[in-house]
């Protein structure tokens, strides 16, 4: 038992190290290539470092796409989605968790349809719906399909049900109205669930590409991923990987840093988000 335990542990460490290095190589080389002179590709000379450290790739990436504008657009997009979601999800979750009304279960089933037919596969008809509403190429068009969240309703409904009903009854006796009850009894007792929901919502919409790409035309409202697409398409012709890697890092840096700060919360939130 003992000797195998020791060698098993050593084997596990080796396997871990190999996988970790393999997984990190793309990130490490993105960084290396982004600060290497464009004229010295990795196939030429030292595979890791160029002859000098340079930021010219970043400068050129900034010429191709207005990253600060795209940053602002991405922030407005994810914040606009999240803020509205928090309201719609909280209201619906409370009703489904604590109120009795005619048609409760069928109505919940309709909302759960969103989990069964995700918006992602309905690209074609949602594109049409936005055109019918006359919202094409607006910020609202980007956000509106995500304003209702069945995942959020399910998550918070479950959390609200675990809040002791005596707390609500006590608040009612103290004269609290419906919105005060929801705000002070339920929301305050569900902060971890809200954090989980917010992390999942923000990271998935920050990363969204296909929908923003087809539903917008103007650079003024397009998010980072669409800006990156422009850089990819520019790179296609000349293979300027230095500037592409610089641009990619500009786009992915905030989420990677957010993850470094909130590693545990991210892992826990994602674990709860099996269905988004």
């Amino acid at each position: 038992m003992k000797p195998t335990g020791g060698s098993l542990r050593r084997l596990a460490t080796i396997v871990k190290a190999v996988i970790a290095i393999a997984f990190l190589i793309p990130l490490i080389f993105t960084l290396l290539v982004s600060v290497r002179p464009e004229a010295e590709p990795v196939t030429n000379g030292n595979i890791f470092f160029g002859s000098e450290l340079t930021f010219e790739n970043y400068e050129r990436a900034f010429v191709i796409a207005p990253w600060s504008l795209h940053y602002l657009n991405s922030i407005i997009f994810v914040a606009g989605v999240l803020l509205v979601q928090l309201v719609t999800v909280t209201c619906a979750a409370y009703a489904f968790a604590r109120m009795r009304f005619f048609g409760r279960n069928p109505l919940l089933m309709i909302i759960l349809l969103q989990l069964m037919i995700p918006s992602g596969v309905l690209l074609v008809q949602n594109f049409r719906m936005i055109n019918i509403l006359g919202l094409f190429d607006t910020r609202i068009a980007l956000m509106i399909p995500y304003w209702g969240s069945a995942f959020g309703v399910l998550l918070l409904r479950q959390t609200f049900r675990e809040v002791p009903i005596e707390l609500e009854e006590a608040a009612r006796i103290d004269g609290a109205n419906l919105f005060q009850v929801i705000r002070h009894v339920y929301v305050t007792n569900a902060i971890p669930a809200y954090l989980a929901f917010a992390l999942v919502s923000v990271s998935s919409h920050w990363n969204e590409f296909l929908w923003p790409f087809i539903i917008t035309r103007s650079q003024e409202i397009r998010p980072l991923t669409v800006g990156l697409n422009k850089l990819i398409k520019t790179t296609d012709q000349g293979a300027f990987y230095g500037q592409l890697m610089a641009g990619t890092l500009i786009v992915i840096a905030p989420l990677v840093m957010l993850f470094l700060l909130f590693q545990r919360q991210f892992v826990e939130s994602f674990a709860r988000s099996g269905i988004r």
């Binding site: 195998t4 396997v15 996988i19 970790a20 997984f23 793309p26 080389f29 993105t30 290539v33 590709p41 990795v42 196939t43 595979i47 719609t88 209201c91 619906a92 109120m99 309709i110 909302i111 349809l113 969103q114 989990l115 069964m116 037919i117 995700p118 918006s119 992602g120 309905l122 690209l123 074609v124 008809q125 594109f127 719906m129 509106i144 304003w147 209702g148 069945a150 399910l154 990271s203 990363n207 590409f209 087809i214 990156l228 697409n229 990819i232 293979a239 990987y241 890697m245 641009g247 990619t248 786009v251 992915i252 989420l255 993850f259 470094l260 590693q263 991210f266 994602f270 674990a271 269905i275």
Partner: protein, 305 residues
């Protein structure tokens, strides 16, 4: 019971409906109505000829589906190839990505030095935008100046045309997806492993069970639900993850690496293909719905009652 006091004023009776109305209306507008409209539009063809823009579409029954499953039709060949690729892509992700996720969870389940570093290394790809991940891999797979070929050439191999070769292109896309998803699958296995009591293993150790025997006789059966769940969601995701193609050869060459949703995206603004893109969407919905429904029946039922 306690909340429903007998005679309620109208406002109070309307309250729950007002609370759920925003979510309900949004789901109707962007999920239910579009799904129904997909069905009807898939049975029609846009009018053709002069002044076609004003004319109503023509009902054609299942003709669009016939065309799509017809190899000689201009979109049929593309559809069949993309559909087959999507299934290969999904199966490969499940067959390789899920066991890798499980292995990672087993390795990283307990307290150990550098745990944060290990977890970061395998989980960070799941946080990247697909298109960003693909952009990174477009450099690795680049034919002339990419990293993969730089390594191969230093070993004396002439290098591979990762994205330009018909047989390799889909494999390259699969590699990217496994790299991206394995860490995500890992966290579900980690959560599942947390629920297995430690003392079961202690008892098994005392009985002389080896590490492998413990895994086969205890861990795997106890993780059955998690395993099933991860397999189902990895199928669901596989049918929706296509954005990477934007940076990895756009489904080419000749659709050899194209995926269904990406083919739909490529044809979305061509008027004459409207019936076809809706018919393709029906196929996609059919597959996704099969998996989401089984997921719901297997795991969510107890939660919704």
């Amino acid at each position: 019971m306690r909340l429903s006091t007998p005679p309620k004023p109208l406002v109070a009776r309307l309250q729950p409906y007002l609370l759920i109305a925003p979510t309900l209306i949004l789901v109707l507008m962007f999920n239910v109505v579009p799904a129904v409209k997909t069905v009807t539009d898939s049975l029609h063809k846009p009018a053709r000829g002069l002044n076609a823009a004003g004319k109503p579409p023509e009902f054609v029954g299942a003709q669009n589906f016939h065309d799509l499953f017809d190899e000689s039709h201009y979109l049929g060949a593309r559809f069949l190839r993309s559909f087959r690729n999507t299934i290969v892509f999904a199966l490969a992700t499940v067959a390789l990505g899920v066991p890798l996720g499980l292995l990672l969870a087993l390795l990283l389940n307990h307290e150990q030095p550098l745990l944060g570093v290990w977890r970061f290394a395998v989980f960070y790809p799941s946080l990247l935008p697909l298109i960003g991940a693909a952009s990174i891999w477009s450099f690795i797979f680049s034919d002339s100046i990419g990293l993969a070929n730089a390594v191969l050439r230093s070993l004396g191999h002439p290098g591979l045309n990762w994205l330009g070769d018909r047989t390799l292109a889909l494999l390259s896309v699969i590699i990217v997806n496994i790299w991206k998803q394995a860490g995500y699958f890992m966290i579900f296995f980690l959560a599942g492993l947390q629920n297995i009591p430690r003392d079961i293993y202690e008892a098994a150790s005392l009985d002389g069970a080896s590490g492998w025997q413990q895994f086969a006789a205890l861990t795997l059966p106890l993780l059955r639900r998690t395993l099933l769940f991860v397999i189902v969601i990895s199928f669901i995701f596989a049918f929706q993850t296509v954005e990477q193609l934007q940076a990895l050869g756009e489904g080419g060459p000749n659709d050899s690496a194209n995926l269904l949703l990406y083919l739909i995206f490529q044809n979305i603004s061509e008027r004459r293909n409207w019936g076809y893109v809706n018919a393709m969407t029906i196929v996609l919905i059919g597959v996704v719905l099969t998996f989401t429904l089984s997921n719901f029946l297997l795991f969510e039922r107890d939660e919704s009652n």
